[in-house]
């Protein structure tokens, strides 16, 4: 394999893991958001459902992130160093969120002997579920705008967009986790609401780019990026239609595609740069021998991973999918 193809391969694996983290990790974060703002007559059932759905899989869902970090520092070391230095603040905040969220989840369950303590960790869990995707979003936004301006209006908007995306994915996933009609309807309504909110936020974000950062706007409206954004928008509309038609299984599939399309649009916006304007994927890549070793390892690891993941989902996600 030529070095260029190797780099392209590894970059593809990396983007794939970003996409999977966005979907599965996102569903987890979104679960935390809905847990926090659980309301209505079935408040407790909603929380129970979220707990039941998230419990067995949340650690697995977050390993995608570790995998991504490891991939970055193994295969694109200078890019990793630059990102970690430039985006030190938002990544640290996101980390605090991750630490608190995991701890809160476990502590809440184990502190059942004391309602006050258990409630406290429940709140921490909800708040951490929001700040983590928010700061990851601002990190991505800051990267896109350039100069690591993670606290620029566009980047902050990206943070909000990320939280809404998580909420949307989670609501749609949760509709499929229960056989109870009323509960399913609760989450279907939430899914519709968050899809609409996501669309509005997307429009606001484009406007923000246009007003505050013409270069970003120009990059976002490049043909490749425009195609990605247009596809994401169409898929979003399709999700909405499927939700109205109560085709929930199809909605789940399409929402995953929608998340992939958003990421593909983002990739197209800044390709061939891994860090806009300064570092391309090719220039940041580790020597071919490392990339090759990494790909072999990924193949071997994947051969163990895929059956294990299938087992996990078969044990926990099989009987609850009755539409």
């Amino acid at each position: 394999m030529s070095p260029q193809t190797l780099v392209a391969f590894v970059a593809f694996v990396g983007l794939g893991s970003v996409a999977l983290y966005a979907v599965f990790g996102g569903a987890d974060f979104g679960g935390g958001v809905w847990d926090m703002i659980a309301s209505g007559p079935r408040r407790d059932q909603q929380r129970e459902l979220i707990e039941h759905a998230v419990g067995p899989v949340w650690e697995t869902n977050h390993v995608w992130l570790i995998f991504l970090v490891v991939l970055l520092f193994t295969c694109f070391p200078p890019a990793f160093a630059a990102l970690a230095t430039g985006l030190f603040a938002p990544l640290s905040f996101a980390l605090v969120g991750i630490i608190l969220r995991g701890a809160a989840y476990a502590f809440r369950a184990s502190a059942s002997f004391d309602a006050g303590l258990s409630d406290f960790w429940g709140h921490v869990f909800g708040i951490a579920s929001i700040i983590t995707p928010f700061f990851f979003g601002t990190a991505v936004g800051g990267l896109t705008v350039g100069n690591y301006a993670w606290n620029s209006p566009f980047a902050l908007g990206t943070g909000v967009l990320a939280v809404l995306l998580c909420a949307q994915i989670a609501a749609i996933f949760l509709t499929l986790e229960t056989a109870e009609r009323a509960l399913r309807e609760d989450f279907r309504r939430r899914a519709i609401g968050s899809t609409v909110a996501l669309a509005v936020m997307g429009a606001i974000l484009l406007t923000l780019a246009r007003v505050t950062s013409p270069e970003t706007f120009a990059a976002l409206t490049r043909p490749e990026a425009r195609a990605g954004i247009a596809i994401a928008m169409l898929l979003g509309l399709l999700v909405l239609a499927l939700l109205f038609a109560r085709r929930l299984l199809a909605a789940r599939l399409v929402v995953m595609l929608e998340a992939f399309a958003v990421l593909a649009g983002w990739y197209a916006e800044q390709a061939p740069y891994i860090i806009p304007g300064t570092l391309t994927y090719q220039a940041a890549a580790a020597p071919p021998v490392t990339l090759e070793a990494f790909l072999w390892l990924t193949a071997a690891g994947g051969a163990l991973l895929v059956p294990s993941l299938l087992l996990l989902f078969r044990v926990f996600k099989s009987e609850s999918q009755a539409p």
Binding site: G55, P56, V57, E59, T60, H62, V63, I66, F67, V69, V70, L71, L72, F73, T74, C75, P77, P78, F80, A81, A82, L83, A84, T85, G86, F88, A89, L91, S92, L95, V96, I98, I99, R101, G102, A103, Y105, A106, F107, S110, A111, F113, A286, P287, V289, T290, A293, F294, L297, T298, A300, G301, L304, L305, S308, L309, L311, L312, V315, F316
Partner: protein
């Protein structure tokens, strides 16, 4: 970083060790159908839920911190050390999947299938520890590249993964996880036994934990001896610091304790046993042992810290061996209940195992200073240039401190009586 690591180490060690104890007690439950074992397995599996959650998030944090705190190191060495890290990532992935199945699958899998799910956790836990330690071993004895104008070229990540220090360091670190877990668990149940002497479940837990400890600690001391001799040959600067040996000597004495004075180049108030260092290091009472004077003084670790931590580790480890031996003799390997003094000794052993593990970690880290990767990159060069790092550091330390306390409180409040009863169908005595 150091704080995160010291914190992570404790929970990661329990995360590696506890699944083994779980596999043992669940296996005993299936074999003997003694409900005490079932309750133990359920109690420990709740402890594992807590530990694994904390271990996972502190591990995630570490993978980030590598970049957040040491970007220059990762930029320089990522192409080599990334491969064992990636392997660790996969091992952890498998572990996370089976931990999910194990912890939430008690009622969804057949008893035997459930028990079998503990095996991948044990194996991938040990492998994670091994891969991560391989990275640390590489930092001690970096290989797999040639240095051209200060840049690493001709990179060979596979050679980097199997660096000279790897075999002994990996064994020593992985065993430390089992030693620590075994004695920590034993210590908790020994305390419970003192409070309620007749409790059969407590006695069973203590027996399993002490058996594991009694197997692990002699192995650990043996491997420790091998790795000290490895240091004497391959990492002589670290070895001289561990032994606080300033001047090269033939027939060197071993120095226990004392206060090494790095300015005056002497170690005061130490207990000296003549010839023993030469014998231990090279199996020859007259062998020459290189002291710190044989090396460049500008790249010397903080001798006092390394030496005292080393002695602390060896001293605690040896005491653990004595406690384990006492237990084995006094209880006929657990057939009898330990008497009060032995139980008290076991209670302190948990703390000693903690001291031994953390002191050992300090020896590795401080013994490598001022290098982050020996011979080519200094810690100060590897460290981040991002602003407000101090603030973030204190923030993370505070957060960890807070979490550690909460976790400890919750772990100590886990009660076996809160666990579900074993399935009634399985309670008949096993045939044969």
């Amino acid at each position: 970083m150091g704080t995160s690591l010291a914190f992570h180490y404790v929970f990661a060690a329990l995360g590696v060790g506890l699944p083994l104890l779980l596999a043992v007690v669940e296996g005993l439950w299936l074999r003997t159908r003694n409900p005490d074992y079932y309750r133990l397995a359920r109690t420990w599996s709740r402890a594992m839920l807590l530990l694994f959650a904390i271990g996972a998030v502190s591990g995630t944090t570490l993978s980030f911190e590598l970049g957040l705190l040491w970007p220059a190191f990762m930029a320089a060495a990522g192409a080599i050390v990334g491969i064992p890290f990636s392997a660790e990532g996969f091992a952890f992935f498998i572990e996370a999947i089976f931990v999910g199945i194990y912890l939430y699958g008690w009622d969804r899998l057949s008893p035997r299938a459930h028990w079998l799910c503990s095996f991948p956790i044990v194996i991938s836990g040990a492998l994670s520890a091994a891969f991560v330690t391989a990275v640390n071993a590489w930092m001690n004895t970096p290989v797999g590249f040639t240095l051209v104008n200060g840049k690493m070229t001709n990179i060979d990540p596979i050679a980097g993964m199997f660096s000279p220090a790897m075999p002994t360091e990996v064994l020593h670190t992985t065993l430390s996880a089992y030693v620590f877990t075994a004695f920590a668990v034993a210590s908790i149940y020994a305390a419970a036994l003192i409070r309620s002497p007749g409790d059969r479940m407590v006695a069973a837990a203590l027996r399993v934990a002490m058996l594991a400890g009694a197997v692990a600690i002699p192995l650990q001391i043996f491997v420790g001896d091998v790795s000290a001799r490895f240091d004497a040959n391959v990492e002589p600067v670290k070895f001289a610091s561990e032994e606080a040996l300033f001047a090269t000597e033939r027939g060197a004495a071993i120095q226990v304790g004392g206060i090494p004075d790095q300015q005056a180049r002497v170690t005061r108030y130490a207990i000296r046993i003549p010839y023993l260092l030469s014998i231990l290091a090279f199996e020859n009472p007259q062998a020459e042992v290189r002291g710190l004077d044989a090396f460049d003084r500008t790249v010397e670790p903080p001798v006092a810290a390394v030496h005292l931590c080393f002695d602390l580790m060896v001293g605690s480890g040896t005491t653990l061996l004595l406690v384990a031996g006492w237990w084995a003799l006094a209880t006929r390997l657990g057939r009898r209940t330990p008497h009060a003094w032995l139980a008290r000794a076991i209670v302190t052993s948990g703390f000693l195992a903690f001291v031994a593990m953390e002191a050992g970690w300090m020896v590795t880290e401080e013994g490598r200073q001022p290098w982050i990767a020996v011979g080519f990159l200094r810690t100060a060069q590897g460290v981040t240039t991002a602003p407000a790092v101090d603030l973030a550091f204190y923030g993370f330390t505070l957060l960890y401190f807070f979490l550690a306390i909460t976790l400890a409180v919750l772990l100590l409040r886990l009660h076996a009586k809160d666990t579900p009863e074993p399935p009634a169908a399985m309670l008949r005595p096993a045939a044969g």
